[in-house]
């Protein structure tokens, strides 16, 4: 599985068509740093499918950040990964550790 950083991630050199498609689907390109980030989330499934084609990996996901402790973690670590129906969005969740420790949001 490829886990991408939602704030900035790099991709191999793209054909023009793919680049245009990604821009249309809601990615943004930072020319100075050569990185992409997600700007619009309405087509996130298509974004992930396209990224999967580009990276030759069906399992592409974004790093999640914990709403309680603020740490980044991949979805794969979550105990509900298999049954979660919204793996792609949002990019914020609660990490397994905070959940086990019984912490709540806004403590």
């Amino acid at each position: 599985m490829v886990v991408l950083n939602k704030k900035a991630f790099r991709l191999p050199r793209l054909e023009k068509d793919k680049f245009v498609l990604l821009m249309r689907l809601g990615l943004q390109y930072d020319r100075a740093n050569g990185t992409f980030c997600v700007n619009s989330y309405n087509n996130i499934e298509k974004v992930i499918d396209t990224l999967g084609e580009i990276l030759n990996d069906k399992n592409v996901g974004f790093m999640q950040s914990c709403l309680i402790c603020g740490k980044d973690f991949p979805c794969l670590e979550c105990r509900y990964y298999e049954i979660c129906e919204t793996k792609n969005l949002p990019f914020k969740c609660i990490c397994g550790r905070c959940l086990e420790e019984g912490k709540t949001i806004g403590e």
């Binding site: 619009s40 989330y41 309405n42 709403l67 309680i68 979550c78 509900y80 049954i83 979660c84 129906e85 919204t86 969005l89 949002p90 990019f91 914020k92 969740c93 609660i94 959940l99 019984g102 912490k103 709540t104 949001i105 806004g106």
Partner: protein, 409 residues
């Protein structure tokens, strides 16, 4: 007062930051809301029920000092009604701005995918005009944005998508409520409720309240009732238990646990009451409760689920008018209206087809064809004077026969 509130209402977030989940959707909505030069005058929030669309709008209005003027599925949203409410709300300064720190109005059209049928005729086109001329934020919410009728609206709206809230977030929310309510809950129990809710925070909180409000403890064992509720229990079984309930409490509990379709259930109760109560006074009393329950069902619509307890209560009272007089009887189920619709489906389809042909030839709607043309055509056919008309309308011989034999329009 707050003791009697539903927890969903009691813990409804007052600030945007407290709305659980859908962070990207929240950010996109707030960006649009705060923007002074909006490229789109309206926003459409869409996603499954119970994920925080309405809550977010109310929280944003509260936080930024706006007054929400809302129309939802329980209101009639015809062209006239939409104009009457929305046009002044979107074009005039709110009276609130003079006596409190209100920045103006927000027009919130909840469940726009529910605008349908004759009652709401012209509602979508009226909304489009309102959006074009609006001077205040226009916010709409829908569960299914892919409906054909919403296409024109989608073109003029910024779209913000909401998704189911994830299990860990629901667990954390439930845990927070438990702490505030002094409920000792097992993690596994909260997990079970969260999984059972399928991403619907509202239903998860309601489940928690129903299970833990009185005992103040919650174990995994207690949550087994949720599986029982979701079990596909047939209408007959629920009706039988409902009518044989020995007390008001028993009937109430049964209604809470069952997952029957409420509209069909209330119709079936209405059909079976004369068999249950032979005493006219008891029957009248029971019908009175059913009519009150029906009124609450209408008010609940698809949004005001906090009124569900009153619906259940009145329905349970109808079953408990005279528990001692219960004698087993043969149930009428499914409801007579549903059976009638089932049996007449073929006839209705044929009539619709005929009306379609008349409508096409005479340039009228199907409804007009049904009301103004078919009765006369029937008389003409009976007197054998309408065969040229029938062939001009391209009616098939069986359709001509159908019209001749029809007794009621």
């Amino acid at each position: 007062m707050s003791e009697n509130l539903l927890w969903v209402e009691k813990y409804r977030p007052k600030k945007v930051a407290n709305v659980v989940g859908n962070d990207e959707a929240k950010a996109a909505f707030i960006d649009w809301f705060k923007s002074k030069r909006r490229t789109k005058k309206a926003v459409l929030l869409y996603g499954p029920p119970g994920v925080g669309k309405t809550t977010l709008v109310n929280a944003a209005a509260n936080e930024f000092g706006f007054t929400v003027i809302e129309m939802n599925a329980s209101d009639t949203r015809s062209e006239k009604a939409v104009r009457a409410v929305a046009a002044p709300a979107t074009s005039f300064v709110a009276l609130d701005t003079f006596y409190k720190e209100s920045k103006g109005n927000i027009l919130f059209m909840d469940e726009v995918d529910g605008i349908a049928g004759n009652e709401d005729r012209g509602g979508v086109s009226a909304l489009l005009k309102i959006v074009e001329n609006a001077r205040v934020p226009v916010i709409m919410a829908a569960n299914d944005p892919d409906l054909q009728k919403l296409r024109p609206l989608k073109k003029v709206c910024a779209l913000v998508r909401f998704q189911q809230v994830r299990i860990p977030l629901i667990i954390a929310t439930l845990r927070k409520i438990c702490q505030k309510e002094g409920v000792e809950a097992e993690f596994e129990a909260l997990e079970k409720i969260a999984q059972n809710s399928r991403g619907d925070v509202r239903s998860a909180i309601n489940d928690l309240q129903s299970l833990a409000e009185t005992e103040k403890t919650l174990t995994l064992q207690d949550t087994m009732i949720l599986s029982a509720r979701n079990k596909d229990v047939g209408m007959d079984e629920v009706l039988r238990e409902y009518f044989s309930a020995k007390s008001l409490e028993e009937a109430s509990l049964l209604l809470f646990r069952s997952s029957v379709e409420y509209d069909n259930f209330i119709m079936a109760v209405g059909d079976n009451l004369p068999l249950r109560y032979t005493d006219p006074v008891e029957l009248a009393e029971a019908y009175d409760f059913v009519s009150q329950a029906d009124m609450f069902r209408g008010r609940i619509g698809t949004e005001h689920w906090h009124l569900l307890r009153y619906f259940f209560n009145d329905l349970a009272r109808a079953a408990a008018v005279s528990p001692q007089s219960y004698k087993p009887f043969t149930l009428i189920s499914p409801p007579i209206r549903v059976i009638t619709l089932f049996w007449t489906k073929g006839k209705r389809t044929t009539l619709e087809k005929i009306c379609g042909k008349i409508g096409q030839r005479c340039h009228v709607s199907r409804q007009t064809a049904k009301e103004d043309f078919v009765p006369f055509l029937k008389v003409m056919l009976e007197k054998q004077k309408a065969l040229p008309v029938a062939s001009w309308l391209e009616l098939a011989p069986e359709e001509v026969e159908f019209l001749k034999k029809m007794s009621k329009f």
